[in-house]
Subunit: 301 residues, 2 copies
Protein backbone atom coordinates (compact mmCIF):
# COMPACT_ATOMS: atom_id res chain seq x y z
CA UNK A 1 0.00 0.00 0.00
CA UNK A 2 1.39 3.42 -0.93
CA UNK A 3 1.96 6.14 1.67
CA UNK A 4 0.88 8.80 -0.79
CA UNK A 5 -2.64 10.10 -0.23
CA UNK A 6 -2.96 10.92 -3.95
CA UNK A 7 -3.21 7.31 -5.07
CA UNK A 8 -6.38 5.20 -4.91
CA UNK A 9 -5.64 2.76 -2.08
CA UNK A 10 -6.04 -0.85 -3.04
CA UNK A 11 -9.01 -2.57 -1.36
CA UNK A 12 -8.93 -6.28 -0.85
CA UNK A 13 -12.08 -7.08 1.07
CA UNK A 14 -15.10 -4.90 1.60
CA UNK A 15 -17.26 -6.01 4.53
CA UNK A 16 -20.76 -4.54 4.65
CA UNK A 17 -22.55 -4.99 7.99
CA UNK A 18 -26.30 -4.67 7.41
CA UNK A 19 -27.40 -5.60 3.90
CA UNK A 20 -30.55 -3.50 3.55
CA UNK A 21 -31.14 -0.68 1.08
CA UNK A 22 -28.12 1.40 2.15
CA UNK A 23 -25.61 -1.40 2.73
CA UNK A 24 -26.85 -3.57 -0.13
CA UNK A 25 -26.63 -0.69 -2.61
CA UNK A 26 -23.11 0.16 -1.44
CA UNK A 27 -22.03 -3.49 -1.73
CA UNK A 28 -23.67 -4.11 -5.11
CA UNK A 29 -22.41 -0.79 -6.53
CA UNK A 30 -18.76 -1.46 -5.64
CA UNK A 31 -19.01 -5.12 -6.62
CA UNK A 32 -20.46 -4.23 -10.04
CA UNK A 33 -17.73 -1.64 -10.59
CA UNK A 34 -14.95 -4.09 -9.64
CA UNK A 35 -13.68 -1.76 -6.93
CA UNK A 36 -12.54 -4.51 -4.56
CA UNK A 37 -11.37 -8.10 -4.67
CA UNK A 38 -14.29 -9.40 -2.68
CA UNK A 39 -17.47 -8.07 -1.13
CA UNK A 40 -18.67 -9.78 2.07
CA UNK A 41 -22.05 -9.16 3.67
CA UNK A 42 -22.96 -9.56 7.34
CA UNK A 43 -26.61 -9.83 8.38
CA UNK A 44 -28.00 -11.18 11.65
CA UNK A 45 -30.88 -12.49 9.56
CA UNK A 46 -29.78 -15.79 7.85
CA UNK A 47 -32.45 -15.43 5.12
CA UNK A 48 -31.26 -11.94 4.24
CA UNK A 49 -27.65 -13.15 4.16
CA UNK A 50 -28.60 -15.98 1.82
CA UNK A 51 -30.69 -13.68 -0.37
CA UNK A 52 -27.84 -11.16 -0.64
CA UNK A 53 -25.62 -13.82 -2.20
CA UNK A 54 -28.39 -15.13 -4.45
CA UNK A 55 -29.15 -11.61 -5.71
CA UNK A 56 -25.45 -11.02 -6.42
CA UNK A 57 -25.33 -8.11 -3.99
CA UNK A 58 -22.31 -9.67 -2.21
CA UNK A 59 -19.87 -12.52 -2.94
CA UNK A 60 -20.20 -14.19 0.46
CA UNK A 61 -22.43 -13.54 3.45
CA UNK A 62 -22.39 -14.48 7.14
CA UNK A 63 -24.58 -13.89 10.16
CA UNK A 64 -21.75 -12.62 12.35
CA UNK A 65 -18.56 -10.61 11.89
CA UNK A 66 -16.70 -13.20 14.00
CA UNK A 67 -16.81 -15.66 11.12
CA UNK A 68 -14.49 -13.56 8.94
CA UNK A 69 -12.77 -11.27 11.45
CA UNK A 70 -9.45 -13.12 11.31
CA UNK A 71 -9.34 -12.91 7.49
CA UNK A 72 -9.20 -9.12 7.57
CA UNK A 73 -6.04 -7.05 6.95
CA UNK A 74 -5.11 -3.35 6.88
CA UNK A 75 -6.12 -3.28 3.22
CA UNK A 76 -9.78 -3.95 3.96
CA UNK A 77 -12.81 -1.76 4.62
CA UNK A 78 -15.85 -2.25 6.88
CA UNK A 79 -19.01 -0.28 6.04
CA UNK A 80 -21.59 -0.25 8.86
CA UNK A 81 -25.09 0.11 7.42
CA UNK A 82 -27.45 -0.58 10.30
CA UNK A 83 -29.98 1.77 11.95
CA UNK A 84 -28.33 4.56 13.99
CA UNK A 85 -28.85 3.01 17.42
CA UNK A 86 -27.48 -0.39 16.32
CA UNK A 87 -24.10 1.01 15.19
CA UNK A 88 -22.80 0.80 18.75
CA UNK A 89 -23.35 -2.97 18.83
CA UNK A 90 -21.41 -3.38 15.57
CA UNK A 91 -18.56 -1.24 16.93
CA UNK A 92 -18.43 -3.52 20.00
CA UNK A 93 -18.12 -6.53 17.65
CA UNK A 94 -15.34 -4.85 15.67
CA UNK A 95 -13.49 -3.89 18.86
CA UNK A 96 -13.81 -7.44 20.14
CA UNK A 97 -12.87 -9.48 17.09
CA UNK A 98 -11.08 -7.37 14.43
CA UNK A 99 -7.39 -6.88 15.10
CA UNK A 100 -6.28 -5.45 11.73
CA UNK A 101 -6.35 -1.65 11.23
CA UNK A 102 -9.25 -1.89 8.81
CA UNK A 103 -10.78 1.34 7.45
CA UNK A 104 -14.18 1.69 9.17
CA UNK A 105 -16.99 3.87 7.92
CA UNK A 106 -20.75 4.02 8.38
CA UNK A 107 -23.92 5.33 6.80
CA UNK A 108 -26.02 6.16 9.86
CA UNK A 109 -28.33 9.18 9.67
CA UNK A 110 -27.06 10.75 12.89
CA UNK A 111 -23.37 11.22 13.61
CA UNK A 112 -23.12 12.62 17.16
CA UNK A 113 -24.28 9.46 18.91
CA UNK A 114 -22.00 7.25 16.77
CA UNK A 115 -19.03 9.53 17.58
CA UNK A 116 -19.77 9.23 21.32
CA UNK A 117 -20.26 5.45 21.12
CA UNK A 118 -16.94 5.00 19.26
CA UNK A 119 -15.02 7.06 21.85
CA UNK A 120 -16.59 5.02 24.66
CA UNK A 121 -15.82 1.64 23.05
CA UNK A 122 -12.34 2.32 21.68
CA UNK A 123 -11.19 4.68 24.48
CA UNK A 124 -10.75 7.38 21.84
CA UNK A 125 -12.04 7.94 18.31
CA UNK A 126 -9.99 5.54 16.10
CA UNK A 127 -8.06 7.33 13.35
CA UNK A 128 -9.31 4.75 10.85
CA UNK A 129 -13.03 5.37 11.56
CA UNK A 130 -14.55 7.84 9.06
CA UNK A 131 -18.07 8.90 10.04
CA UNK A 132 -20.37 9.25 7.01
CA UNK A 133 -23.93 9.65 5.82
CA UNK A 134 -25.24 9.17 2.26
CA UNK A 135 -28.20 11.48 1.55
CA UNK A 136 -30.09 8.87 -0.43
CA UNK A 137 -33.13 7.61 1.35
CA UNK A 138 -36.01 5.83 -0.24
CA UNK A 139 -39.37 4.55 0.89
CA UNK A 140 -38.10 1.09 -0.04
CA UNK A 141 -36.09 -1.02 2.35
CA UNK A 142 -34.43 -4.43 2.60
CA UNK A 143 -31.90 -6.26 0.46
CA UNK A 144 -34.35 -6.65 -2.44
CA UNK A 145 -34.33 -2.84 -2.74
CA UNK A 146 -30.52 -2.78 -3.16
CA UNK A 147 -29.60 -0.78 -6.23
CA UNK A 148 -25.99 -0.54 -7.48
CA UNK A 149 -26.71 2.95 -8.88
CA UNK A 150 -28.56 4.34 -5.84
CA UNK A 151 -25.80 6.80 -4.96
CA UNK A 152 -25.21 8.22 -8.44
CA UNK A 153 -25.52 12.01 -8.29
CA UNK A 154 -26.44 11.87 -4.61
CA UNK A 155 -24.60 13.69 -1.86
CA UNK A 156 -22.63 11.95 0.85
CA UNK A 157 -21.63 13.88 3.93
CA UNK A 158 -18.46 12.78 5.73
CA UNK A 159 -17.80 14.24 9.17
CA UNK A 160 -14.10 13.70 9.93
CA UNK A 161 -13.02 14.62 13.47
CA UNK A 162 -9.60 15.79 14.70
CA UNK A 163 -8.22 12.28 15.06
CA UNK A 164 -9.43 11.00 11.66
CA UNK A 165 -6.48 10.05 9.41
CA UNK A 166 -6.33 11.74 6.01
CA UNK A 167 -5.45 8.42 4.41
CA UNK A 168 -8.62 6.70 5.62
CA UNK A 169 -10.74 9.76 4.81
CA UNK A 170 -9.42 9.70 1.25
CA UNK A 171 -10.11 6.00 0.94
CA UNK A 172 -13.76 6.40 1.98
CA UNK A 173 -14.15 9.50 -0.22
CA UNK A 174 -12.90 7.57 -3.22
CA UNK A 175 -15.26 4.64 -2.60
CA UNK A 176 -18.22 7.02 -2.67
CA UNK A 177 -16.87 8.76 -5.76
CA UNK A 178 -16.57 5.42 -7.54
CA UNK A 179 -20.31 5.05 -6.89
CA UNK A 180 -20.97 8.42 -8.55
CA UNK A 181 -21.71 10.33 -5.34
CA UNK A 182 -20.63 13.87 -4.52
CA UNK A 183 -18.74 13.94 -1.22
CA UNK A 184 -19.02 16.91 1.15
CA UNK A 185 -17.47 17.26 4.58
CA UNK A 186 -18.73 19.12 7.63
CA UNK A 187 -18.48 18.87 11.40
CA UNK A 188 -20.47 16.26 13.33
CA UNK A 189 -22.47 19.06 14.99
CA UNK A 190 -23.30 20.87 11.74
CA UNK A 191 -24.36 17.59 10.16
CA UNK A 192 -26.77 16.75 12.95
CA UNK A 193 -28.22 20.30 12.98
CA UNK A 194 -28.68 20.51 9.21
CA UNK A 195 -30.19 17.03 8.97
CA UNK A 196 -32.50 17.70 11.92
CA UNK A 197 -33.93 20.68 10.04
CA UNK A 198 -34.00 19.36 6.48
CA UNK A 199 -34.77 15.69 6.98
CA UNK A 200 -35.66 14.64 10.52
CA UNK A 201 -38.13 17.49 11.13
CA UNK A 202 -39.91 16.99 7.76
CA UNK A 203 -40.27 13.29 8.53
CA UNK A 204 -41.65 13.95 12.03
CA UNK A 205 -44.15 16.39 10.49
CA UNK A 206 -45.16 13.99 7.73
CA UNK A 207 -45.66 11.12 10.19
CA UNK A 208 -47.73 13.36 12.44
CA UNK A 209 -49.88 14.62 9.57
CA UNK A 210 -50.65 11.14 8.26
CA UNK A 211 -51.44 10.05 11.82
CA UNK A 212 -53.73 13.06 12.29
CA UNK A 213 -55.66 12.22 9.16
CA UNK A 214 -55.80 8.50 9.84
CA UNK A 215 -56.87 8.76 13.48
CA UNK A 216 -57.85 12.21 14.71
CA UNK A 217 -60.12 13.40 11.90
CA UNK A 218 -63.50 11.71 12.09
CA UNK A 219 -64.03 11.21 8.36
CA UNK A 220 -63.76 7.59 7.24
CA UNK A 221 -63.34 8.65 3.60
CA UNK A 222 -60.57 11.12 4.20
CA UNK A 223 -57.94 9.16 2.26
CA UNK A 224 -60.30 8.53 -0.63
CA UNK A 225 -60.29 12.15 -1.68
CA UNK A 226 -56.73 12.96 -0.73
CA UNK A 227 -55.21 15.43 -3.15
CA UNK A 228 -51.73 15.71 -4.60
CA UNK A 229 -50.15 17.61 -1.73
CA UNK A 230 -51.06 14.85 0.64
CA UNK A 231 -49.64 12.12 -1.57
CA UNK A 232 -46.16 13.61 -1.15
CA UNK A 233 -46.59 13.56 2.62
CA UNK A 234 -47.62 9.93 2.72
CA UNK A 235 -44.61 9.01 0.63
CA UNK A 236 -42.29 10.69 3.13
CA UNK A 237 -44.11 8.93 5.98
CA UNK A 238 -43.67 5.47 4.51
CA UNK A 239 -39.99 4.97 5.31
CA UNK A 240 -38.74 2.29 7.69
CA UNK A 241 -40.28 2.85 11.18
CA UNK A 242 -37.29 1.45 13.14
CA UNK A 243 -34.81 3.65 11.28
CA UNK A 244 -36.88 6.74 12.06
CA UNK A 245 -37.42 5.74 15.66
CA UNK A 246 -33.65 5.50 16.05
CA UNK A 247 -33.08 8.87 14.39
CA UNK A 248 -35.60 10.63 16.66
CA UNK A 249 -33.81 9.23 19.71
CA UNK A 250 -30.24 9.71 18.48
CA UNK A 251 -30.69 13.31 17.33
CA UNK A 252 -33.24 14.32 19.94
CA UNK A 253 -31.80 17.69 20.99
CA UNK A 254 -31.38 19.09 17.46
CA UNK A 255 -34.77 17.74 16.35
CA UNK A 256 -36.57 19.33 19.30
CA UNK A 257 -34.88 22.66 18.56
CA UNK A 258 -36.04 22.59 14.90
CA UNK A 259 -39.47 21.33 15.88
CA UNK A 260 -39.96 24.25 18.26
CA UNK A 261 -38.94 26.78 15.61
CA UNK A 262 -41.42 25.16 13.21
CA UNK A 263 -44.22 25.12 15.80
CA UNK A 264 -43.68 28.83 16.46
CA UNK A 265 -43.80 29.57 12.74
CA UNK A 266 -46.94 27.45 12.29
CA UNK A 267 -48.63 29.28 15.17
CA UNK A 268 -47.84 32.61 13.49
CA UNK A 269 -49.46 31.23 10.34
CA UNK A 270 -52.45 29.97 12.33
CA UNK A 271 -53.00 33.37 13.84
CA UNK A 272 -52.64 35.09 10.45
CA UNK A 273 -55.28 32.73 8.96
CA UNK A 274 -57.56 33.47 11.92
CA UNK A 275 -57.07 37.24 11.63
CA UNK A 276 -57.20 37.05 7.80
CA UNK A 277 -53.86 38.84 7.68
CA UNK A 278 -53.42 38.84 3.90
CA UNK A 279 -50.08 40.65 3.99
CA UNK A 280 -48.49 38.02 6.20
CA UNK A 281 -49.91 35.07 4.24
CA UNK A 282 -48.92 36.44 0.84
CA UNK A 283 -45.45 37.26 2.14
CA UNK A 284 -44.87 33.77 3.54
CA UNK A 285 -46.31 32.04 0.46
CA UNK A 286 -44.29 34.20 -1.93
CA UNK A 287 -41.00 33.79 -0.14
CA UNK A 288 -41.52 30.04 0.17
CA UNK A 289 -41.88 29.97 -3.61
CA UNK A 290 -38.68 32.04 -3.93
CA UNK A 291 -36.81 29.73 -1.56
CA UNK A 292 -38.02 26.78 -3.62
CA UNK A 293 -36.86 28.40 -6.86
CA UNK A 294 -33.41 29.11 -5.39
CA UNK A 295 -33.21 25.57 -4.07
CA UNK A 296 -34.13 24.12 -7.46
CA UNK A 297 -31.47 26.30 -9.11
CA UNK A 298 -28.94 25.02 -6.59
CA UNK A 299 -29.82 21.40 -7.34
CA UNK A 300 -29.18 21.98 -11.04
CA UNK A 301 -25.70 23.44 -10.43
CA UNK B 1 -82.39 20.10 -26.77
CA UNK B 2 -83.84 16.88 -25.39
CA UNK B 3 -85.64 16.75 -22.08
CA UNK B 4 -84.14 13.35 -21.32
CA UNK B 5 -81.29 13.46 -18.83
CA UNK B 6 -79.74 10.34 -20.46
CA UNK B 7 -78.61 12.14 -23.60
CA UNK B 8 -75.44 14.22 -23.88
CA UNK B 9 -76.75 17.79 -24.09
CA UNK B 10 -75.47 19.72 -27.07
CA UNK B 11 -73.04 22.53 -26.19
CA UNK B 12 -72.73 25.47 -28.51
CA UNK B 13 -70.36 27.84 -26.79
CA UNK B 14 -68.07 27.14 -23.85
CA UNK B 15 -66.93 30.29 -22.06
CA UNK B 16 -63.96 29.89 -19.74
CA UNK B 17 -63.41 32.81 -17.36
CA UNK B 18 -59.79 32.80 -16.20
CA UNK B 19 -57.39 31.11 -18.62
CA UNK B 20 -54.67 29.90 -16.28
CA UNK B 21 -53.69 26.29 -15.62
CA UNK B 22 -57.18 25.13 -14.55
CA UNK B 23 -59.28 27.10 -17.05
CA UNK B 24 -56.81 26.79 -19.91
CA UNK B 25 -56.57 23.01 -19.49
CA UNK B 26 -60.38 22.69 -19.41
CA UNK B 27 -60.72 24.87 -22.53
CA UNK B 28 -57.95 23.19 -24.49
CA UNK B 29 -59.12 19.70 -23.50
CA UNK B 30 -62.70 20.22 -24.68
CA UNK B 31 -61.55 22.11 -27.78
CA UNK B 32 -59.15 19.31 -28.76
CA UNK B 33 -61.88 16.71 -28.24
CA UNK B 34 -64.40 18.68 -30.33
CA UNK B 35 -66.88 18.76 -27.47
CA UNK B 36 -68.37 22.16 -28.33
CA UNK B 37 -68.85 24.40 -31.33
CA UNK B 38 -66.66 27.16 -29.97
CA UNK B 39 -64.45 27.80 -26.95
CA UNK B 40 -64.22 31.41 -25.76
CA UNK B 41 -61.72 32.63 -23.16
CA UNK B 42 -62.11 35.60 -20.83
CA UNK B 43 -59.06 37.08 -19.10
CA UNK B 44 -58.70 40.50 -17.51
CA UNK B 45 -55.12 40.40 -18.74
CA UNK B 46 -55.06 41.33 -22.50
CA UNK B 47 -51.68 39.60 -23.00
CA UNK B 48 -52.99 36.36 -21.54
CA UNK B 49 -56.13 36.61 -23.69
CA UNK B 50 -53.99 37.07 -26.79
CA UNK B 51 -51.65 34.26 -25.81
CA UNK B 52 -54.57 31.86 -25.19
CA UNK B 53 -55.68 32.30 -28.81
CA UNK B 54 -52.11 32.04 -30.16
CA UNK B 55 -51.51 28.83 -28.20
CA UNK B 56 -54.77 27.36 -29.53
CA UNK B 57 -56.18 27.01 -26.02
CA UNK B 58 -59.35 28.89 -27.07
CA UNK B 59 -60.92 29.99 -30.37
CA UNK B 60 -61.55 33.59 -29.32
CA UNK B 61 -60.65 35.59 -26.22
CA UNK B 62 -61.84 38.81 -24.61
CA UNK B 63 -60.94 40.85 -21.55
CA UNK B 64 -64.53 41.05 -20.29
CA UNK B 65 -67.61 38.86 -20.25
CA UNK B 66 -69.68 41.87 -21.44
CA UNK B 67 -68.20 41.58 -24.91
CA UNK B 68 -69.90 38.22 -25.59
CA UNK B 69 -72.73 38.12 -23.02
CA UNK B 70 -75.48 38.82 -25.57
CA UNK B 71 -74.25 36.00 -27.83
CA UNK B 72 -74.99 33.37 -25.18
CA UNK B 73 -78.00 31.02 -25.23
CA UNK B 74 -79.38 28.25 -22.99
CA UNK B 75 -77.19 25.78 -24.87
CA UNK B 76 -73.96 27.32 -23.58
CA UNK B 77 -71.70 26.71 -20.60
CA UNK B 78 -69.64 29.10 -18.48
CA UNK B 79 -66.70 27.64 -16.51
CA UNK B 80 -65.33 29.97 -13.83
CA UNK B 81 -61.64 29.25 -13.25
CA UNK B 82 -60.35 32.12 -11.12
CA UNK B 83 -58.93 32.03 -7.55
CA UNK B 84 -61.61 31.27 -4.93
CA UNK B 85 -62.09 34.83 -3.70
CA UNK B 86 -62.47 36.21 -7.25
CA UNK B 87 -65.40 33.91 -8.15
CA UNK B 88 -67.83 36.38 -6.53
CA UNK B 89 -66.77 39.14 -8.94
CA UNK B 90 -67.36 36.85 -11.93
CA UNK B 91 -70.79 35.87 -10.57
CA UNK B 92 -71.64 39.59 -10.32
CA UNK B 93 -70.65 40.00 -13.99
CA UNK B 94 -72.78 37.00 -15.01
CA UNK B 95 -75.75 38.30 -13.01
CA UNK B 96 -75.38 41.74 -14.60
CA UNK B 97 -74.87 40.84 -18.25
CA UNK B 98 -75.91 37.25 -19.03
CA UNK B 99 -79.65 36.82 -19.56
CA UNK B 100 -79.71 33.29 -21.05
CA UNK B 101 -80.03 30.31 -18.67
CA UNK B 102 -76.45 29.22 -19.32
CA UNK B 103 -75.04 26.23 -17.38
CA UNK B 104 -72.57 27.72 -14.88
CA UNK B 105 -69.86 25.75 -13.13
CA UNK B 106 -66.57 26.54 -11.43
CA UNK B 107 -63.28 25.01 -10.39
CA UNK B 108 -62.54 26.91 -7.19
CA UNK B 109 -60.80 25.02 -4.37
CA UNK B 110 -63.35 25.99 -1.71
CA UNK B 111 -67.08 25.59 -2.23
CA UNK B 112 -68.78 27.07 0.87
CA UNK B 113 -67.84 30.67 0.15
CA UNK B 114 -68.86 30.36 -3.53
CA UNK B 115 -72.22 28.91 -2.47
CA UNK B 116 -72.80 31.83 -0.10
CA UNK B 117 -71.71 34.40 -2.71
CA UNK B 118 -74.07 32.92 -5.32
CA UNK B 119 -77.05 33.00 -2.96
CA UNK B 120 -76.27 36.63 -2.09
CA UNK B 121 -75.91 37.74 -5.71
CA UNK B 122 -78.75 35.77 -7.32
CA UNK B 123 -81.14 35.92 -4.34
CA UNK B 124 -81.03 32.12 -4.21
CA UNK B 125 -78.70 29.46 -5.58
CA UNK B 126 -79.46 29.26 -9.33
CA UNK B 127 -80.54 25.78 -10.46
CA UNK B 128 -78.12 26.03 -13.39
CA UNK B 129 -75.02 26.65 -11.22
CA UNK B 130 -73.11 23.42 -10.50
CA UNK B 131 -70.36 23.89 -7.93
CA UNK B 132 -67.23 21.89 -8.75
CA UNK B 133 -63.58 21.32 -7.96
CA UNK B 134 -61.06 19.35 -10.04
CA UNK B 135 -58.40 17.72 -7.84
CA UNK B 136 -55.58 18.41 -10.22
CA UNK B 137 -53.19 20.99 -8.89
CA UNK B 138 -49.71 21.56 -10.14
CA UNK B 139 -46.84 23.77 -9.15
CA UNK B 140 -47.13 25.32 -12.61
CA UNK B 141 -49.51 28.17 -13.33
CA UNK B 142 -50.61 30.46 -16.17
CA UNK B 143 -51.95 29.85 -19.67
CA UNK B 144 -48.60 28.45 -20.88
CA UNK B 145 -49.09 25.59 -18.39
CA UNK B 146 -52.48 24.68 -19.94
CA UNK B 147 -52.55 20.98 -20.77
CA UNK B 148 -55.50 19.39 -22.63
CA UNK B 149 -54.86 16.10 -20.79
CA UNK B 150 -54.43 17.55 -17.29
CA UNK B 151 -57.65 16.01 -16.00
CA UNK B 152 -57.19 12.50 -17.36
CA UNK B 153 -57.54 10.02 -14.50
CA UNK B 154 -57.95 12.85 -12.00
CA UNK B 155 -60.89 13.22 -9.66
CA UNK B 156 -63.39 16.02 -9.89
CA UNK B 157 -65.69 16.69 -6.96
CA UNK B 158 -69.09 18.24 -7.74
CA UNK B 159 -71.13 19.53 -4.81
CA UNK B 160 -74.73 19.88 -6.01
CA UNK B 161 -77.11 21.57 -3.56
CA UNK B 162 -80.86 21.08 -3.16
CA UNK B 163 -81.75 23.57 -5.87
CA UNK B 164 -79.25 22.25 -8.47
CA UNK B 165 -81.03 20.89 -11.55
CA UNK B 166 -80.23 17.29 -12.55
CA UNK B 167 -79.99 18.37 -16.19
CA UNK B 168 -77.23 20.90 -15.52
CA UNK B 169 -75.45 18.52 -13.13
CA UNK B 170 -75.41 15.86 -15.86
CA UNK B 171 -74.10 18.32 -18.40
CA UNK B 172 -71.16 19.33 -16.19
CA UNK B 173 -70.50 15.68 -15.23
CA UNK B 174 -70.31 14.75 -18.91
CA UNK B 175 -67.90 17.58 -19.72
CA UNK B 176 -65.50 16.32 -17.06
CA UNK B 177 -65.91 12.74 -18.23
CA UNK B 178 -65.08 13.76 -21.79
CA UNK B 179 -61.80 15.06 -20.32
CA UNK B 180 -61.12 11.66 -18.78
CA UNK B 181 -61.84 12.68 -15.20
CA UNK B 182 -63.65 10.61 -12.57
CA UNK B 183 -66.57 12.60 -11.14
CA UNK B 184 -67.58 12.25 -7.48
CA UNK B 185 -70.27 14.16 -5.65
CA UNK B 186 -70.46 15.20 -2.01
CA UNK B 187 -71.97 17.97 0.06
CA UNK B 188 -70.43 21.44 0.12
CA UNK B 189 -69.58 20.96 3.80
CA UNK B 190 -67.95 17.56 3.37
CA UNK B 191 -65.94 18.89 0.45
CA UNK B 192 -64.55 21.79 2.44
CA UNK B 193 -63.77 19.57 5.46
CA UNK B 194 -62.06 16.85 3.43
CA UNK B 195 -60.05 19.35 1.39
CA UNK B 196 -59.06 21.30 4.50
CA UNK B 197 -57.54 18.12 5.93
CA UNK B 198 -56.01 16.56 2.82
CA UNK B 199 -54.93 19.58 0.83
CA UNK B 200 -55.18 22.94 2.61
CA UNK B 201 -53.57 21.78 5.86
CA UNK B 202 -50.66 20.01 4.07
CA UNK B 203 -50.03 23.18 2.07
CA UNK B 204 -50.10 25.40 5.19
CA UNK B 205 -47.62 23.02 6.84
CA UNK B 206 -45.34 22.90 3.80
CA UNK B 207 -45.30 26.70 3.48
CA UNK B 208 -44.56 27.05 7.18
CA UNK B 209 -41.75 24.48 7.06
CA UNK B 210 -40.03 26.10 4.08
CA UNK B 211 -40.39 29.48 5.80
CA UNK B 212 -38.92 28.08 9.03
CA UNK B 213 -35.89 26.75 7.19
CA UNK B 214 -35.43 29.83 5.04
CA UNK B 215 -35.80 32.38 7.84
CA UNK B 216 -35.85 31.00 11.35
CA UNK B 217 -32.95 28.56 11.29
CA UNK B 218 -29.64 30.40 11.42
CA UNK B 219 -27.73 28.21 8.97
CA UNK B 220 -27.01 29.86 5.63
CA UNK B 221 -26.29 26.51 4.02
CA UNK B 222 -29.45 24.80 5.11
CA UNK B 223 -30.86 24.39 1.60
CA UNK B 224 -27.55 23.17 0.24
CA UNK B 225 -27.76 19.91 2.13
CA UNK B 226 -31.50 19.47 2.01
CA UNK B 227 -32.43 15.83 1.72
CA UNK B 228 -35.16 14.07 -0.24
CA UNK B 229 -37.94 14.52 2.31
CA UNK B 230 -37.50 18.25 2.16
CA UNK B 231 -37.62 18.35 -1.63
CA UNK B 232 -41.21 17.08 -1.57
CA UNK B 233 -42.15 19.82 0.87
CA UNK B 234 -40.67 22.58 -1.25
CA UNK B 235 -42.57 21.30 -4.27
CA UNK B 236 -45.85 21.53 -2.38
CA UNK B 237 -44.91 25.02 -1.21
CA UNK B 238 -44.25 26.34 -4.71
CA UNK B 239 -47.85 26.68 -5.87
CA UNK B 240 -49.43 30.03 -6.72
CA UNK B 241 -49.34 32.31 -3.61
CA UNK B 242 -52.57 34.21 -4.47
CA UNK B 243 -54.52 31.00 -4.95
CA UNK B 244 -53.39 29.71 -1.58
CA UNK B 245 -54.00 33.01 0.16
CA UNK B 246 -57.58 32.87 -1.12
CA UNK B 247 -58.05 29.29 0.03
CA UNK B 248 -56.81 30.04 3.56
CA UNK B 249 -59.31 32.87 3.82
CA UNK B 250 -62.24 31.13 2.14
CA UNK B 251 -61.96 27.87 4.10
CA UNK B 252 -60.71 29.41 7.33
CA UNK B 253 -62.92 27.58 9.83
CA UNK B 254 -62.28 24.07 8.50
CA UNK B 255 -58.56 24.74 8.05
CA UNK B 256 -58.18 26.00 11.63
CA UNK B 257 -60.00 22.91 12.92
CA UNK B 258 -57.62 20.57 11.03
CA UNK B 259 -54.61 22.66 11.97
CA UNK B 260 -55.46 22.38 15.66
CA UNK B 261 -55.85 18.60 15.44
CA UNK B 262 -52.47 18.43 13.72
CA UNK B 263 -50.80 20.70 16.27
CA UNK B 264 -52.10 18.51 19.11
CA UNK B 265 -50.79 15.40 17.36
CA UNK B 266 -47.41 17.05 16.72
CA UNK B 267 -47.15 18.06 20.38
CA UNK B 268 -47.79 14.45 21.40
CA UNK B 269 -44.98 13.43 19.07
CA UNK B 270 -42.72 16.17 20.48
CA UNK B 271 -43.27 14.95 23.98
CA UNK B 272 -42.67 11.32 22.97
CA UNK B 273 -39.35 12.32 21.34
CA UNK B 274 -38.40 14.24 24.48
CA UNK B 275 -39.33 11.35 26.80
CA UNK B 276 -37.82 8.80 24.35
CA UNK B 277 -41.12 6.96 24.35
CA UNK B 278 -40.17 4.24 21.86
CA UNK B 279 -43.57 2.52 21.99
CA UNK B 280 -45.43 5.66 20.95
CA UNK B 281 -42.96 6.55 18.17
CA UNK B 282 -42.88 3.05 16.69
CA UNK B 283 -46.67 2.86 16.83
CA UNK B 284 -47.16 6.18 15.02
CA UNK B 285 -44.46 5.43 12.44
CA UNK B 286 -45.82 1.94 11.77
CA UNK B 287 -49.45 2.96 11.41
CA UNK B 288 -48.49 5.89 9.15
CA UNK B 289 -46.79 3.33 6.91
CA UNK B 290 -49.93 1.16 7.03
CA UNK B 291 -52.15 4.14 6.19
CA UNK B 292 -49.88 4.94 3.28
CA UNK B 293 -50.02 1.36 2.03
CA UNK B 294 -53.84 1.35 2.20
CA UNK B 295 -53.95 4.71 0.44
CA UNK B 296 -51.66 3.46 -2.33
CA UNK B 297 -53.85 0.36 -2.76
CA UNK B 298 -56.91 2.62 -3.00
CA UNK B 299 -55.26 4.74 -5.72
CA UNK B 300 -54.63 1.62 -7.78
CA UNK B 301 -58.27 0.50 -7.64
Amino acid sequence: MSDSVQEIPFIRKLVVVGIGLIGGSFAAGLKNRGACEEVIGISRNPDQAKQAVELGVVDRAFTSLDEIATELTDEDVIFIAVPTLSVEKVLLDIHRCVTAKVTITDGASVKGNVFIAAQKIFGQMPSEFVLGHPIAGSEKSGVTAANPNLYENHRVILTPVESTSAQHLLRVTQLWEILGAEVLTMTVEDHDDVLAATSHLPHAIAYSLVDTLAHDIANPNIFRYAAGGFRDFTRIASSDPVMWHDIMKANKAAILRSLDLFTDNLQRMRSSIEKEDSDYLLEVFSRAKEARDEYTKMLKQ
